[in-house]
Amino acid sequence: MMTKAKRKRLIYNLITFGLVIAAYLILQNMIDAKAISRSLKGLLVPICAWIVMAVSLNLVIGFSGELSLGHAGFMSIGAYTGAIVSGWFLSAFDMQDPTLRLILAILISGVVAGIFGALIGIPVLRLRGDYLAIVTLAFGEIIRNLVNVLYVGTTDGKLYFSFLNKNLPEGVTMLVDGAKGAVKIKPISTFTIGFALIILTLIIVLNLVNSRAGRAIQATRDNRIAAESMGVSVTKYKMMAFVTAATLAGMAGALYGLNSSTVVPTQFTFNQSINVLVFVVLGGLGNVLGSVISATFLTVLPEILREFADYRMLVYAVVLILVMIFTNNPLIRSMMNRLFGPVRTLLRGKQKKAPGGDAE
């Protein structure tokens, strides 16, 4: 039994990595051969960032079973930290190498977002279900509100922070300018680093899920009381999943922020968290490969629909509703299962269960 389950998992992981690597190789070849449209090329780095966001949120929702509605908050912390770190290293240490700067910025952003994740997680994870959802939503909004009145400048290798008022010494180079957001960022993100970040994320998440800790996390999701009575420290493992997800979201944020010349707080609203949630749910809870595919597909979809211009969002909304109904209605689902049954069982990695899902 064990070996069969293990083999199945191995195949699933191989398919996941294989698809991501194949996609990277094909796209990189297209870029080298200049056989790629501007639009697609421009989408590559954002897609990488959204994949990391979706996979990390899936860790919280799909595996640990907690509904988090503030994931964009961590992304924003990462994006701002990335912009500050990159700008500061450039001016203070004259670090010209963009790749090194990008990697350092991503790592530091991950750490900072992880620290925030821990600070927020300690109180939040005591709550359950919809209450946890609303508190994470509240944290996301608070972070946005605070970032909106944050001013950061650099001069002579020193960083200056100021809050609410622009009390910075004369002649500083502004890095973060309140409502104007992070300004004058030198865009340094590359597709290759984005790809590397996806691989790193997949390794971390898949390993965590398949480890002792991962089994404990899933046990607390499936039956908290049973897990607790078996001696599993629920809070510890939920915390582990939450902080890991926050760290990864911070890294994705840095990648995303450093892809553009400016970052604004309004990019990381509650709606953005919802978008990531949609990626996760459409891809399948607990299904990492599903998250990768749906994040890619849903980022590209609005661009494909561009010619419909004003009807675009309308179509998107209708598609969303129809997909949810088609994949979740028992009648339609059993019909689909009969049609595509064999394919589905092959692709399905994990059993799915929703947080607090009392249905069925």
């Binding site: 109180p123 709550l127 609303i134 509240a138 509703i321 979740n328 929703a354």
Partner: protein, 292 residues
């Protein structure tokens, strides 16, 4: 004096939140779902009332009733088309569908009424102010606060005294058992949506009478705030929604007035977090029982 002024403004804003929160909380209590499209039903209600007055030349009361009827039908239709097929699905699937519905309503509104904001007619509620010494209380404020009280009392009576109301409470308590007792669950849920959506129309008209700008996105932020209010008060509880809404409005106004307008929203959400940490089920919510 100024303190009183802020208090009244807070009560007025809070009453609007409370009426919206009632819609959230009722649907949550009975269908166990977060109806994210609720905020957008408010917006639709306000637009219909606006059209009634501005284009169809209806008297205010009739326009108001038309909006209520329209929203009731809309709510029932949304429930029947989008939510009912998902009755057996996970709560997350329903949540995503509701979000999709919210986008859909906003974009349809954008298509029909355009992006230009409309000024909601102040004639809807006669725009006179009551002067008490230095205090100015507008009639919209008074009517909002009164409407809130009336709605809460009616709803409480409805759920505790009438047969339909009792059926709603049964479904909320235990859907399976209610079905076994011969209660038509689907009809009860439809009824809940009908009531919630009618309330949304009222909230829409009141919201836009106090803050007379109407856009396709008008409902979203009040919707989120009201949802917070419902959780704050204990989701599923009618007096809880009322209390949560009013408190949230007062905190928002006081936070802005005495701490900082820049951090107004952050203060609201921070208070919410503190309350939930102390009382994890909200102010008036029932603590969850765990079955082993």
């Amino acid at each position: 004096m100024i303190f009183l002024d802020h208090l009244i403004n807070g009560l007025s804003l809070g009453s609007i939140y409370a009426i919206i929160a009632l819609g959230y909380t009722m649907v949550y209590g009975i269908a166990k779902m977060l109806n994210f499209a609720h905020g957008d039903v408010i917006m639709v209600g306000a637009y219909i009332a606006f059209c009634g007055l501005q284009y169809w030349g209806l008297p205010p009361v009739v326009a108001f009733l038309v909006a209520m009827v329209f929203c009731t039908l809309l709510g029932v239709t949304i429930e029947g088309l989008a939510y009912r097929p998902l009755r057996q699905a996970t709560s997350l699937a329903v949540l995503i569908t509701a979000i999709g519905m919210s986008y859909l309503l906003q974009n349809i509104a954008l298509m029909i009424w355009g992006a230009n904001p409309k000024a909601f007619p102040t004639t809807f509620i006669n725009d006179t102010s009551l002067h008490l010494g230095q205090l100015n209380i507008s009639s919209a404020t008074l009517i909002t606060i009164m409407a809130n009280v009336v709605i809460m009392v009616t709803l409480t009576l409805f759920t505790s005294r009438t047969k339909l109301g009792k059926a709603m409470r049964c479904v909320s308590e235990d859907r399976g058992a209610a079905e076994l007792m011969g209660i038509n669950v689907n009809r009860t849920i439809s009824l809940t949506f009908a009531i919630g959506s009618a309330l949304a129309a009222i909230a829409g008209v009141l919201l836009c009478s106090s803050y007379p700008i109407l856009q396709p996105t008008t409902g979203s932020m009040p919707g989120i705030k009201a949802f917070t209010a419902a959780v704050f008060g204990g989701i599923g509880s009618i007096p809880g929604a009322m209390l949560g809404g009013v408190l949230l409005g007062v905190i928002e106004i006081f936070g802005k007035a005495y701490i900082s307008t820049e951090l107004g929203d952050a203060i609201v959400f921070a208070v919410l977090i503190v309350v939930l940490l102390v009382k994890p089920a909200g102010l008036l919510g029932k603590p969850m029982r765990e079955k082993v």
